[in-house]
């Protein structure tokens, strides 16, 4: 099934620089699975260690990175235990950058 992942607040620089990705994921995947899948597939090899550090902490999203699942705060959706549904839009927004 297809889902969409978007970055904002400069977080795309931890990945390949693109702000939007359409991904094919197995049904029943959780957001936690998605996080690691993103690190494996969307980060260039030479940037993976550094990028992972910006994005994740203790195997989940680093505090200060907001996650929206279909525009809803992931804190109301079960955080990384949320099970992805077809056509979900997941937004990762860093609040760690100035502005």
């Amino acid at each position: 099934m297809q889902i969409t992942v978007e970055f904002s607040g400069g977080l795309e620089t931890a990945f390949d620089g693109n702000k939007k990705h359409v991904l094919d994921v197995p049904e029943g995947s959780s957001v936690n699975w998605l996080l690691h899948h993103m690190v494996e597939t969307l980060m260039p090899d030479h940037k993976r260690e550094e990028g992972k550090n910006i994005f994740l902490q203790d195997e989940s999203v680093r505090p200060g990175v907001l996650v929206l699942i279909n525009d809803s705060d992931w804190e109301l959706e079960g955080e990384d235990q949320y099970i992805l549904q077809p056509r979900d839009v997941i937004i990762f927004a860093s609040t760690l950058h100035g502005g």
Binding site: G10, L66, G98
Partner: protein, 365 residues
């Protein structure tokens, strides 16, 4: 899950301040009303006042401009808001963010004034970095940016600037001042309105109690037009570390940010005995263009130096505790470096020496 405030719509976010699940319309309402309350409780504005909004094109200042316009219309503040933007001369970064501010000007129907570093200091940020390298350039960012907003306002005859500093910024600043032992700043940094200690212009922070998370979500849900790439020269390591620490604390104790701000507000520095002859003279910015001096600060002096006050920079006339203000000290170093390089044609040596001087300066600021 239903919104706990209206109990009829789907909750879309968990408020960081109260942990309440609330819907979008209730979120807009509480977010805007809290800012309105901050403004009213402190009598921040008066009818007919001209107020500059420090506009960077980033999320904080864009949300600030949007909310100020909304509240000004809703509650009839009668304030005349002007967008004031600083062009640091950072190639690629400011070009894009200035475009954003120009669109904001149209979207919010406000005047826009842009003041450039080159105009104010004779140096763009790109030129400064070319000279001193990436290390320590945030010292310049900070000192020059602060004065630039004040000088820009004075130039426009505006005595009040609002900036987009939010609760998270405030908590970081408290923590940083505490960790550095900077008790003088710790005493003042949580004030909603910072007085005219080294500036003729009043500064205030209407978003002082607004959480960064809510600012990001407000901008996102309202589809505000802002620029989200970070300043190319920005890594200010110490602030970054303080921020990470606070975020980690918040995960364990959700009230961390507001608690730190409250601690900062309760901290009052023990008053030293007043020195004679250094009374608190209130100086009003008087706008008059003077001929640009050759060399040094290429700033049209916006302040009346005939008042003969001792607390002014002898180089540029800007209010300062020391004989020479921080900006002029930094400029002197830069200009000396430029001259030295021109004479010797040996940039490596000149630059190294400059960096050493600057590191000393950075410690004293």
């Amino acid at each position: 899950m239903l919104c706990v405030l209206c109990e009829c719509r789907k909750a879309m976010l968990k408020r960081p301040k109260t942990l309440q699940p609330i819907c979008k319309p209730c979120f807009y309402n509480v977010f805007e009303t809290e800012i309105h309350n901050t403004i009213v409780e402190s009598n921040l504005f008066f009818p007919g006042e001209r107020v500059a909004i420090g506009a960077s094109g980033g999320k904080d200042s864009t949300v600030l401009a949007h909310v100020m316009k909304t509240l000004n219309e809703r509650y009839n503040y009668g304030v005349d808001f002007v967008l004031l933007s600083i062009d640091e001369g950072i190639h690629g970064y400011r070009d894009d963010s200035l475009e954003t501010v120009k669109r904001n000007k149209v979207q919010y129907d406000m005047d826009l004034e842009v003041v450039s570093y080159s105009e104010l200091y004779g140096w763009s940020m790109d030129q400064i970095v070319a000279q001193i390298g990436n290390k320590n350039n945030c010292t310049y960012c900070g000192v020059f940016r602060r004065q630039a907003l004040d000088r820009g306002s004075a130039k426009l005859g505006i005595a009040h600037i609002v900036t987009g500093h939010n609760a998270d910024d405030m908590a970081e600043t408290v923590l940083m001042n505490l960790l550095r032992g900077d008790t003088a700043r710790l005493d003042r940094c949580t004030e909603l309105v910072t007085g005219s200690d080294d500036s003729p212009v009043k500064r205030s922070k209407p978003l002082k109690y607004a959480y960064e998370k809510e600012i990001v979500l407000y901008a996102h849900y309202k589809k505000l037009d802002y620029f989200s790439t970070e300043c190319t020269y920005s890594p200010e390591a110490f602030r970054g570390t303080a921020r990470t620490l606070i975020k980690n604390l918040e995960a364990i104790r959700p009230s961390t940010i507001i608690d730190i701000i409250h601690s900062g507000e309760a901290f009052v520095l023990k008053k030293k005995k007043e020195k004679k002859g250094k009374g608190s003279v209130v100086v009003k910015a008087k706008v008059e263009e003077k001929p640009v001096p050759s060399g040094g600060c290429s700033v049209p002096l916006a302040f009346d130096s005939s008042l003969g006050l001792s607390n002014r920079c002898t180089k540029c006339g800007y209010l300062s505790h020391n004989a020479v203000c921080k900006a002029c000290v930094l400029l002197e170093g830069l200009n000396a470096g430029r001259a030295k390089m021109q004479i010797e044609g040996d940039s490596a040596d000149g630059a190294a020496k400059n960096i050493k001087t600057l590191e000393k300066l950075a410690l004293s600021i």
